[in-house]
Amino acid sequence: MAGKVKIFPFVSFMIPYIEAITPSSLFITACVIWSSGAVLTVVSDLTKLRLEDRWMTGLSIAGSLATIIGSIKSYTQTQAFGFSGFPNFGLAPLTCLTDSLSVPFTLLLGLVSLAAALATPSFTHTLATKSQHNHFFRLTFLMLSGILMVLLSANAIAFLVFWEVMSVAAASLITTDHIRHRAQRAAISYMTASRIATALFTAAFLWMQHLSGSFDFSAWHFNDPRALPAAIMLFLGAATKAGLWPMHVYLPQSYAEAPGPAAAILSGVVGKTAIYLLLRLLIQGNCESLPVIYLALALGTVSCVWGVLFALVERDLKRLLAFSSVENMGLIVVALALTMLARHHGLDMVMAIAVTGVLFHAFNHGLFKSLLMLGAASVERATHTRELSQLGGLAKRMPWTMLGFFVGAMSICAMPATNGFASKWLIYQAFFRLACDEAPLFDRAIALAMVGVLAFVGALALACYAKAIGIAFLGRPRSRQAQMPPESGIDNLAAAQILLSCLCILLGTSAGISLSALSPALNLLTQCSNDTGSFFPLAIGQLSLIGVFLTSAIYLIILGPKTKDIRTYITWDCGYGPLSARAEETGSSFSHPIGRIFSQILQLNVETEIQGKDRRHFPEAIRVETKMSPFIETKAYRRFLDVVNWLSLTLTRLQTGSIHVHLLYLFLTMIVLVLLGTTL
């Protein structure tokens, strides 16, 4: 085994350059760069100034680089800084804290925003007017600085302020192409979900302030039973923002409607801020109350299975990715619940592995989900459609997007030698260790059951992404849009995808080394100081080297010499004559067998209609239609919205317009008030 490498190799190379600058100044420069970009767009709106895309992407890249270096710098040096004077949010001044827990998340933000910035120029030419350009850049910068400050703020009020700024900026970013009503509806549903999350957070923060007397996160302890309602509200708020099962409804709409780079940032990083909050408060505040644990386990498991099932039968590429992030978020929350369960039973090793699994999977999911989103966005940019039934045969036309999407799919399905496998392996290992340790029987049963469920969900994810790649990229083009001219070389979008894919593969193969970078975060969260690198003993790096060597050996020795005399001919058509693209497997038929097995959950029903005189033997026209109604949206949310509408309808009926009725209200209230006042 290669010797244990203590410091992340990348850091040791950079230290001489960035010794002098403190992480706080780097993060502040990132915020200043981004907000100056936003102000620049406002100025260009008011004046005739025409902003070149190059400058704005340059600004954005500078901001992300500052964030990346800042997070690396804060890896070695924890720093608490605040602004006593200017931004003072009434109840508490703006105090920030960069410690080892915020390192993975700020690094993720830096990397994903760098990739999104790289990809932006190839999207902005699809935006028609100058005002839309400025709108897009202004709100991206606002969202990015909002996310950064959310990750840094150390007290509840500052957190809420920047959380709201982030949510409002993200919601209005979704309506960049605001002429379409779908984009507006998506923004409203996104806004509703984030406002519900904010309301739950506000209630939880107020309760904790009531208990502890101050708004600072460090002063809050979640281990005393009085903090239980706050912990539950906090978890539900984070679940809404991360998009867990019952509150996932807004996720597919808003990720699908957002423009390319924005969708990458939204799906990659914004969901992770909720996980960061849970880590910061529940884990660091060592919460171990059983109701929260079992609620998290239940919601996480259901959203794992639910998300991937609906992703499998989804026909729109971006919605498919959104549903699959519901699954991954469920996975992270399940691992979080496992950490708290392990702490409750005092099993330190299981707790350490689970926390490392949560941190590493959140980081990895951010990377490969934004990679996939960029791939889907580049497909939408080229073919102007996201419907799988109209795509096909894009591999030859868009080789780089295909490669990026392929690496992203491999890592999301946790294929060995990718970062997805390393983090999912850690979560498997945590559950496995819990089953082995002497925990109560019920929890060991849950752990083993979870191993089975995760295997099931893994297989479903494999099916889902096999469909996504197979239908979208391979085979024959199914529509005229898909037959567009091939991409010319590597444009900046492809560069972004290549950057992210290399990161995924690098993290995957060097899992042992890159994991040891999480030791300080583990130490902060759970006070056990073993090196996280040791949790991943598999020699995954050597194995992938052997695998590559073997494949190339087989390819060169056996297939190589014979490549020149390969004959190309039509695909096997079983004698029916040259088949058109319609004979090809479509997205819905690929997932139909699985849909049929789970038809209760998916509400899948198939109508076949056969016309013709003798319908049984000589059908003239057959029409088959499969309909699938989303169970949660139609049953639960429709009813809830009807109740709210009915309530406000009855209230508006109160305003009858006739003055006599208004006077009657006055006198009735008088009588009621007098009675209440005097008798109380």
Binding site: N88, F89, V644, L663
Partner: protein, 495 residues
Amino acid sequence: MNEFGSLLFLPSIAAILSLVIQNPAVTRKFCALAAWIQLVIVLSMLSQILTGHVPNLPFVSGLAVDRLGACFIVLTTFVVASCLTHADYFFQAAANRGDEYSANRVKVFYASTNIFLMAMTTVFCCDSLGYLWIAIEATTLSSAPLVYFERNKYALEATWKYLIVCSVGIAFALLGTVFIFAASQRGDIQAATLNVSELIAGSKALNFPLLRLGFIFCLLGYGTKAGIFPLHTWLPDAHSEAPAPASAMLSGSLLNCALFGIWKVSTVILAANPTAPAFQLVSVLGTITVLAASLLIIRQHNLKRLWAYSSIENVGLMVFAIGLGSGPLFFLQAVNHSLAKVALFLLAGNIIQATGTKKLNKLHGLMENAPSWAAALALASLAVAGAPPFGAFVAEMSLLTLSLTDHRYILALTITIALAISFLGILSHTGKVIFGAGKPNFKHFAEKRAVAIPVLLILCSLVIGLAVDTATWMPGYDHKHISQTQRKVAEVSCR
């Protein structure tokens, strides 16, 4: 009497002159200028009280300005000044659009606005409940012509309802004042009095059942004027039919006067018996108002009625602040609401003038037609809905923190839910107005000048949101752990 006279001197001159001057352009410019000068006068006269050196400034026996009253006078004058400045643009835009308002209508508008300003200033100077009642009734009567400015059927109906419901409501407030006066007479204090300062001083000796009855009737009367939930029916009609500057003033300053009335009366009953169950009614009424208004906001079809209902919601929040017994918090919420709401009504006026319709489903694509208006509308609606960087967020969070220290968990939870509902209602309506395809027949007229005042107001709200630390700015307010009664007595005594 001389300071009080000099306080009202300039508006009275402006009122008379605006009736005399024939050329409307001159009256417009002159009244706007007079209002800003009045603001300077007010600031100079009340500087001692504002900076806290002098507890209060007595004029005549019944009139005395305390710290809260002084702050409200400054706020009201600032609101009226900004509305009048915008009214200048409003009338020019109306002329440009074709239906020029006749000269004498404009004269009546400016005359009644100045009288309205005088009445509101006297409200905040009143120490005697009798004078307070007269001043509030004067504000109602002087604002009736403002509501009736458009002279069409709807304005007529709105004015009639406004006048009748408010007058009947305030009559009950008079009944309340009578009961309080009877309580002071029956109580064994040396001279029966209506002055709040003396009532507070001898509060323990007052005949409590009578005082409580009087407090309830005053709450009912001034509550009708403020627009508490079951009694709010006149408010949406009056605010949606009045012209934009007038409805801005109605929402921005008139509601504060009625709430100031409720605050004055509640200080008396607080002094008498801080834990009186009757006083709990106030915070419960406030919560009901916030919840009902936020539900009503969802189903609005008219732009100005939407903002009227959001005013009702903020009135509910202020009543809740009064129910908690915290004067400074009541003022913080009032400032943020007035700034944001005036900006919104002025913008609504611009939009209605440019598009010609008030219907929300016909308004869309403001971002295409007037990007600066769209940005201002977005920021202003965020400010009024309580989004963080703006002042309303600070006010609402301090309100909820204070209510939790007072162990009012159910009320705090209801208000958090109601605030979320109203935030979503307001933003979805504003989103529909801003986004979407542009309207073809959009009449542009001096787009940048129209948005000057609203942007100024939004900036003030932003400054309050970011730069003001509630602990230092308001000495009486301290959200650390102080028990309910001890804090109330502390606050009342600092008055």
